[in-house]
Amino acid sequence: MTVISVVKDAEARTLTITARFDAPIARVWQIWSDPRQLERWWGPPSHPATVTEHDLAPGGTIRYHMTGPEGDRHGGWFRVRAVDPPHTLELDAGVADAGGHQRPDTPTAVIRVALSEPAGGGTQMEISTAWADDEAMEWMLATGTDAGMTAAAGQIDELLGLPARA
């Protein structure tokens, strides 16, 4: 079993999922550090991601969009809060507007990644995502699953039209 632990905290709107992979830590780090690999797993199968900018340095930005079967595009971005290869990575995640530009006024989640080498070999990856509010959770659902992508394209437009939250 790849996923070995799931911890959900509804009050903190936090999901921590821990998985173990049969690969060296440097190899697992590449799924974040190599944009060509990142775009193969971030988006759902029906909406593959295209990473257009990838600066995995503190303060750096990663931009991507996902393209649906109708050619519809849904943009997003990460901002690197902290990075310590190949062990830890901390990202702000947010929505991009229709033109693919990031909206720094609307951070929606903080993603913390921690890689370690357990005694039994392989690599353990813990990914903890803390969402700012329910809308942020809805947004990641809408842009993370096939069903969400199909059903919620309109909702995303609505979300993007929302005024910035305080």
């Binding site: 790849t2 996923v3 070995i4 632990s5 799931v6 911890v7 959900k8 905290d9 509804a10 009050e11 903190a12 709107r13 999901l15 921590t16 999922i17 821990t18 998985a19 992979f21 049969d22 690969a23 190899r27 697992v28 590449q30 799924i31 190599d34 944009p35 060509r36 690999q37 193969r40 797993w41 971030w42 759902p44 902290a82 310590d84 062990h87 830890t88 901390e90 913390r112 990644v113 921690a114 370690s116 813990e126 990914i127 903890s128 995502t129 509010d133 329910d134 959770m137 809805e138 990641m140 659902l141 993370g144 699953t145 969400g148």
Partner: protein
């Protein structure tokens, strides 16, 4: 490992844990939910923590939209928002499924290291 800055205290848990957090803040929420409405001072009496600590937890839960605070004369009453809690639970369940999909895809990428060479 000293570089594991982001490891939460529960990281060693190997059990699937579907419930909310087990800290005092969530206890306050549960009590507020169970009793419909409660005063901050009553909550402080009921728990071995200070009035200020209860205030802090309630403020956190209020910011998260999980409780609402109303003033009745000299008392501040706290009401848990059951709908918001259920909503957050449901969303987390769906988000867990989303991440299982991502982990599966990562696993497949790692299983075929030569499929596409890293940059």
């Amino acid at each position: 490992m000293t570089s594991m800055k982001f490891t939460p205290a529960h990281a060693t848990s190997t059990a699937i844990c579907p419930g909310p957090g087990s800290g005092t803040g969530s206890s306050v929420t549960r009590v507020a939910l169970a009793s419909g409405a409660d005063s901050v001072s009553e909550l402080a009496r009921r728990y071995p923590i200070s009035f200020a600590a209860v205030h802090k937890h309630v403020a956190t839960l209020e910011r998260a939209g999980l409780v609402t605070k109303t003033r009745h004369g000299r008392e501040q009453r706290v009401r848990g928002d059951a709908a918001a809690l259920r909503s957050a639970h449901r969303l987390l369940d769906d988000l867990e499924a989303l991440w299982h999909g991502r982990i599966d895809r990562i696993e497949r990428i790692l299983a075929h290291p030569t499929e596409r060479a890293p940059q």
